[in-house]
């Protein structure tokens, strides 16, 4: 074998790899490097000590690998001789599965993984994290504040006035939701004389009829006695 020609091809390949599949190039480089190495071992004299140290002649390793690959190719040939569904053989086309409970078919974990990847790649809506902290508005407190302003059955207050009086946007949102919730409970009414006129809030039941515990249920899955805190503290993206 001519080392120079191998080396030239080797270098030419290194040039080409920039535009090619790196793993393919790596395979080729390994082969070329092995061949050059073998040739160099043949050309250069080596002290006997090193020869003994060599566990295995690299040529043997290469030959063995080539033999193994020959076997792989032979096995693939055997596989090719089998009549195959989709090639020589056809089966009945798949049908719609009937509805109803049925055992689960064996799943394909890579298909699942691809799906997961697809979902992640989709990106989804921008992430919004709501953070509840001690300074966040208290739902119950906001509701009680509105009730205090109304001052009993028949009391009427302008909704805009209530909301503007609040310090933070979060308090305004919580209070607004609280008003809606109290309307739902039948405690308050909302009135507006005409289109675009100010909206007023009207208390329609006696204070005694107000069961503030009902507001507790607003926070789903909240534990009894837990402080009612809405997850609307501050936005942090």
């Amino acid at each position: 074998m001519e080392v120079g020609r191998i080396a030239d091809a080797y270098l030419e390949w290194i040039e080409r790899t920039r535009a090619l599949d790196l793993s393919l190039a790596a395979d080729w480089l390994l082969m070329a490097a092995t061949l050059v190495h073998l040739k160099s071992l043949e050309l250069l004299p080596r002290p006997p000590a090193i020869l003994e140290e060599e566990e295995q002649d690299p040529r043997d390793a290469l030959i063995q690998q080539l033999q193994e690959y020959e076997r792989v190719k032979a096995a693939a040939d055997v596989l090719e001789t089998f009549p195959r569904v989709g090639r020589e053989i056809h089966v009945r086309p798949p049908r719609e599965a009937p509805t109803g409970p049925a055992p689960l078919a064996p799943g394909d974990v890579f298909a699942l993984l691809d799906l997961f990847h697809e979902i992640l790649a989709r990106g989804g809506p921008p992430e919004v994290t709501f953070q509840a902290d001690d300074s966040g508005p208290d739902f119950g407190l906001c509701c009680r504040r509105v009730l205090a302003l109304l001052g009993g059955k028949g009391g009427r207050v302008d909704l805009g006035t209530i909301l503007v009086s609040l310090r933070t946007p979060a308090e305004r949102v919580v209070t607004f939701v609280g008003v809606l919730e109290m309307v739902r409970l039948g405690w308050l009414d909302i009135e507006q004389e005409r289109h675009l006129a100010p909206v007023s809030v009207l208390q329609v039941v006696e204070d005694e009829a107000l069961d503030l515990h009902l507001l507790t249920g607003w926070v789903e899955e909240g534990e009894p006695g837990e402080q009612m805190t809405l997850p609307l503290g501050g936005r942090s993206a």
Binding site: A105, V109, L113, A121, G124, E221
Partner: protein, 212 residues
């Protein structure tokens, strides 16, 4: 009447059995009804011959489990009606595959567990409560405590049945996206499209709800 073949004098021996076999193979593989000219063309035989073969086949299959019917201007092999109950029984107990949406939710739970429903819905961008319930009902997903997040949402995990159905010895055997990507990087003749970067990969071990 049982010997329809004999009505055609020019062929006292009946139709070429190989043609009958070919017609049967085509009807079987097609599934849907086939018109005579379609069969004739596929086999490269005259339509009249095919018609005769169909009659032979119809006759022959009359008492079997699969009969030849004229349907929608063509011919179709169908199970004999008297076996409807057994067929229904069989197909009703045949393994079922997960729907696309169920697979999506399951994938998220598998690789992100433990994970909350809000997180699942954030990733999918659609309400997933019903699908999640379906997966819990099917025993593929279970609840596993709650987070300390507002509303204290439930956490979900996959079950032992999940491992069984997907042939996994344990959760650590879940392939990672990096591994999948590594497969794609090969030089194989894959027509698969590029898989997005692995930056979003979270291996199952590190599946602590990444909340960033």
């Amino acid at each position: 009447m049982s010997e329809g073949i004999l009505e055609f004098p020019q062929r006292p021996g009946g139709v070429d059995p190989e043609l009958v076999a070919g017609v049967e193979a085509l009807l079987f593989a097609a599934g849907s009804p086939l018109a005579v000219p379609v069969i004739a063309q596929a086999l490269g035989e005259p339509a009249d011959e095919v018609r005769l073969a169909l009659q032979v086949l119809e006759q022959r299959r009359r008492d079997s489990g699969v009969v030849l019917d004229r349907v929608a201007g063509g011919w179709q092999l169908r199970t004999a009606p008297r076996f409807a109950a057994a067929v229904h029984h069989l197909l009703g107990t045949r393994p079922q595959k997960l729907s696309r949406s169920a697979s999506e939710v399951l994938a998220i739970v598998a690789w992100r567990q433990p994970v909350t429903r809000p997180e699942i819905e954030r990733l999918r961008g659609v309400d997933s409560g019903g699908v999640l319930k379906h997966l819990v009902d099917r025993g593929l997903v279970r609840t596993a405590g709650r987070t300390e997040d507002p509303g204290r949402p439930l956490l979900y995990r996959t079950t032992a049945l999940f491992l069984e159905v997907f042939g996994l010895p344990d959760l650590a055997a879940l392939p990672t996206l990096a591994e999948r990507e590594g497969m794609v990087r090969g030089l194989g003749p894959t027509d698969e499209e590029e898989v997005p970067p692995a930056s979003e990969v979270s291996p199952p071990e590190g599946a602590e709800r990444s909340e960033e």
